[in-house]
Symmetry: C2
Subunit: 124 residues, 2 copies
DNA sequence: CGGTATCCTCATTGATACTG
DNA sequence: CAGTATCAATGAGGATACCG
């Protein structure tokens, strides 16, 4: 029952989102504002579909538990797709859905800004 | 001593940031990934300089404590400027620094994506 | 007005160990 | 390989009350 929680965010979206304009920003932060979410999306944008451990290697310093939880979260929100690509040697592949892929501008903007910020601050 | 913590992130930036590329995304999430940070920046981008309580009103449902902490955080990271504009009736104004203002593309992207996401999911 | 000081609760993170 | 189950530690978020 851990890999199915389709009941928690359908109405939640409506609840924490009033009709103001800032809710769109709040919405985004709720969906990808967790510590590792943007990084995961970034990785999938860069490398395409990845297996669980491959993804784990890419991110480095994330634990299985947290990666698992994060992926489930992203899956529930329709941003990431989980596909079983092989049964015998059991293999899965995580990839971005269309909605997940559409995050590219956001991630890119964050990427670019982070780079500029680091240049600014740690210029010695 | 609460309004001065200039020692905590100068080298911290270097510590959690290796030389990989993903650190730029991680960097951004560390700086504005907290729950209210993007909203605060969004508000300041929209309305320009605001006093403490004015900002609090704009955000709605944020407590003084959290707003205070968040602003201090943003200040420490050089994204927000705090100016005392009047002593007699004590008044301050929070505004974005240049670096804070440069977050506009990021916030805009989040804004746009959140809007699209909401359209997609809650289209009935 | 513009905050700070406490204190509390819950969420997130994570280490470790184990499973099919 | 691809996870899950537990449990411990931390920390963020927030209610309340009070101060200059």
């Amino acid at each position: 029952m851990s890999r199915a929680s389709e009941d928690k965010d359908e109405e939640c979206v409506a609840s924490w989102c009033a009709d103001d304009d800032w809710c769109t920003v709040t919405c985004t932060t709720h969906l990808i504002g967790k510590k590792w979410h943007p990084v995961i999306v970034h990785r999938l944008l860069e490398h395409g579909p990845l297996g669980f451990n491959a993804l784990k290697e890419e991110i480095e310093s994330i634990s299985s538990t947290v990666l698992s939880n994060s992926l489930e979260d992203l899956e529930d929100n329709g941003l990431v797709n989980r596909a079983i690509v092989s049964e015998k040697p059991f293999r899965v592949e995580y990839s971005l859905t269309e909605q997940g892929t559409s995050l590219e501008p956001v991630i890119d903007a964050m990427d670019a800004w982070g780079e500029a910020y680091l240049r600014e601050t740690s210029r010695s």
